[in-house]
Amino acid sequence: MRTTQLAERKSPERWLADFVGRLRRDDLAPATVRGYRYDLLQFLRWFSQAKGSSSRLEKLSILGLINYRQHLVRH
């Protein structure tokens, strides 16, 4: 499947760089872009720890996001 192939080919760092590039092209303020980048880095760190080797983006589900939210609330 095309989605899975794309996700597998790129590392999380690459997605992040692409996403940040998009934000810059959207003319967001530098501080806002920095904030988004930092927030996502934190998420990716948690995601890779929680999911271990299967930390592929296409595995992301609403349950994963809810878990992340609860993790943040508790810490």
């Binding site: 989605t3 996700a7 996403f19 988004y36 998420f43 992301l60």
Partner: protein, 532 residues
Amino acid sequence: MKAATVNRRLKALRRFCRWAQQNRLIKSNVALELKLVRTTRNTRPMGLTEPEVHSLLRLAGESGHGLATRNYALVQLMVQAGLRVGEVAALRIADVTARERSGLVRIREGKGLKAREVPLNATARRALHLYLDSRSGAAAEEPLFLSGRGGAMPTRTIQAVIAHLARRAKIDRVRVSAHTLRHTFALNYLRQSPGGICISGTVYEQIRDKLALDYQDLGEQEVKNIVRPVRAFRVLPQPGATAPRNIRRVTRKYVRPGIFLIAGPASIAAAVALVQHLVLRPASIPPPQTPALALPDKPSIAVLPFVNMSGDRDQEYFSDGITEDLTSDLSRLPGLFVIARNSAFTYKGKAVRVHNVSRELGVRYVLEGSVRKADSRVRITAQLVDATTDYQIWADRYDRPLQDIFALQDEIVLQIITNLKVKVLEAELTRVSRIPTDNLTAYDSLLRGEECLRHVVYETNKEANRRARQMFERATVLDSQYAPAFAALGATYFNDWLFQWNINPPNRWTGPSSWGNGRWPWMILSPRPIRY
């Protein structure tokens, strides 16, 4: 982690998921249904009190490494003009226009890419002048505030400087960041000139049912930089207040916390935006005066530079030395709040009314004086003025032979301090014992009641006695610890008996229910006789 931080992280994730789906990294946008954490916002905006601001300013003015004027100007600019930290960091020398009677800073790129011009009051202009004097050779396009290394002062450094000053000032009541100074500015504006805030019809529609304020319709107004006339409303924070002048008289002496409880961040933002941006200026709306700083709770004093009357500029050091020593010695007195030397020295060489000094620096007492030296003698005069009333409290003259100049200076300083300590405390005691409540409406009710009471005595007026009782009851409800009001209330019952208007006074208080909640002050000691 704070709810706001959690939500910020989740919002970033939402945006990311939307993008990831658009780029087919994920099949569906899984974050669409992710709920944010619910928050109950603390709607009370936090700002610094006057004593806190002044200790920040004092410490800023005492900064080492030649940074005193820079740090002082930095704090003044943020407190007096309410700039954002990023805006301050981006300022260049050319952006500041500070003339004798007016001034402004130009913000080239504010939040949301908005350019604007912010007016500067006299205090901010003086602080900037003082700082810019030290940068006289600098080019117009150079950054306004330089870091110790010489480059532009970065946002982080400004934040660190403010945080450092706040730590040294031992302010732990609120967390002090650079943005706290912006809040302080807005709160101060609300506090000082509630009549000066105008909002547009659109804002009015949004907030009329949310903020319990009174609004006065000013009709259509021509507004700077806006083509069509704008419907404007004046905000009257005190319910029922119509004349801003009266509010100012009251708020000059007392902080009215009620205003802040009502005014949430929305109106703070409105105040900042409106003060800085939407300057309404048709003739029908008087321009807001420079807000008078609220007076601190403890006795406060500014030592103005002693005037050198020797006719010899070389003797300037002597008069300045006297002033400096007085300032530093006074600041050691517990319970006395002393204005920073830098603030006071901005008045050097200028003929100013002490009343204006009090307004601008937020002090009750002003010490001023002069120094004359001739041959081998020196004559020093000093006078202490209650600047809010312009009354001279104390004055003295010291005439001494000029032998050891420093010993003489010490002697004079000691004498002045000793006198001042007593005089300031005496004046404070009189003031405090006159108004032993911090609820100004209660005090006002007491005064009205006492006025009625005089009619009772001189005219045997039953109706006046009833009115007086109403006023005293109101005062006791507003402040259940207000001894003079209870004493006066008792006097109205005594009148009933004395003039035989009611020979059956209640054997039990039938006052408002708040008296019965266990806080009924059976034993209140009144420090003051009733004026009767």
